[in-house]
Symmetry: C2
Subunit: 211 residues, 2 copies
DNA sequence: ATATAAAGACCGACTGGTTGGTTTGTTCAC
DNA sequence: GTGAACAAACCAACCAGTCGGTCTTTATAT
């Protein structure tokens, strides 16, 4: 084991470097050197530097989209679904932080052919969230005066921004952060009745004992 | 009047191009051409392409920081202060959207000497928000179980993310968006008592008539 | 007021380093 | 022997930055 293929080594190295210096701050030569590969090996595995960037994007968005759809299927009320999606999404930051950073910092530089594919999945992800909010409002669990789009983008923004400040070895565990976000969201969008009902469920995690 | 200096023309053009194509997706030659300037004119006004990037960053962060400090001084309760800060911040998006996009997309590429200066002001801005939240908790207006940092970063993230989706000519006015954010935030952080009191103030804007 | 000098704004052809990508030839394993 | 990987030289395009020079404005001297 621990037998990483050349391709994996290249991706890992590129990810680390891109995260720190940005796509344009890293040359192919440097990726090649630091992953103990060769120019030939690089271009054997990737058509171009662009394709490598696309690959990184794709791995991440595909994973996140799947997780969201999974969460949607595994739960059956809007509140539970939303919590599960947010929770799984936040947890992704622990594993995929470099991917996420690259995803949100460098997508400008994707060639049109690539960015189109990525955007399709990204939109699909957004739609899952919008859908849950819409269903929550219809079911009377979420406040009816909310705008689906703004509320959805508020949640997405709040969660996504984590990539700018989350430190894997920082004072906050990713679970604590997720719990705060969920608490924040539920207080905002649940109706008064729904709050009563939800107060003792697994997702209403933020109690006085946490700082 | 309408006499724009060369420097202004260069900045405006650069801003437009950077927003769309990213810092590294735009050459000095292109900036020069599209602003009807020359290479010499460019380097007469800026020491380097880097300095231009720094300038754009600085204008924005300085403005935002001032607005936040202003808002802090003009109001006197934590709730009012927080609302005023968020409101002024969101409104900035209308005027400074290109600046903001460049600020959050391209700051990786600032040379260390520049990014240090920028980060100082950015931290100062964060501290204003943290301070207000801290005071809100102490005053009993905000829920005591909240983490100052996570709550602060949630708010900042929610608001900042706007730059990814806000369209100046879109269906939502910037005021509507600001009202939603404030509604979202207040529902989350106010204590029950504070909510009763605040319900009729100027900031609790989101009522049933808005979709 | 006029001539002259100095300063600053601006121009654009040119340069030199960088970098993504190619090519050629080789090694090694299955 | 076929394909995965390496090594190294090479190329063409690109692009930030330079430099010598012009034109305009301002300051100075007579």
């Amino acid at each position: 084991m621990a037998e990483k293929t050349l391709k994996e080594r290249i991706i890992d190295t590129a990810l680390r470097l891109f995260e720190q210096y940005g796509y344009h701050g890293v040359t192919v030569d440097r990726i090649v050197t630091e992953s103990n590969a060769s120019k030939g090996g690089f271009y054997h595995n990737f058509k171009s530097k662009d394709e490598l960037l696309y690959h990184i994007h794709d791995v991440f968005i595909t994973y996140v989209l799947n997780k969201a759809q999974e969460a949607y299927q595994n739960y059956h009320t809007p509140t539970e679904r939303l919590c599960a999606i947010v929770q799984s999404f936040v947890k992704v930051f622990h594993l995929y932080k470099p991917h996420i950073t690259v995803f949100y910092q460098e997508s400008t530089y994707l060639k049109p052919e690539y960015s189109q594919k990525i955007n399709e999945k990204r939109d699909e992800f957004k739609q899952v969230i919008f859908q849950v909010i819409r269903e929550g409002i219809e079911a009377g669990e979420f406040r009816s005066e909310l705008s689906v789009e703004i509320t959805g983008m508020s949640i997405i923004g709040m969660v996504n921004w984590t990539y700018k400040w989350y430190k894997p070895n920082g004072p906050m565990t990713i679970e604590q952060i997720a719990a705060h976000f969920i608490d924040f969201i539920l207080h905002s969008i649940l109706t008064e009745e729904a709050k009563q009902k939800a107060e003792n469920t697994m997702f209403f995690l933020l109690n006085k004992q946490m700082v």
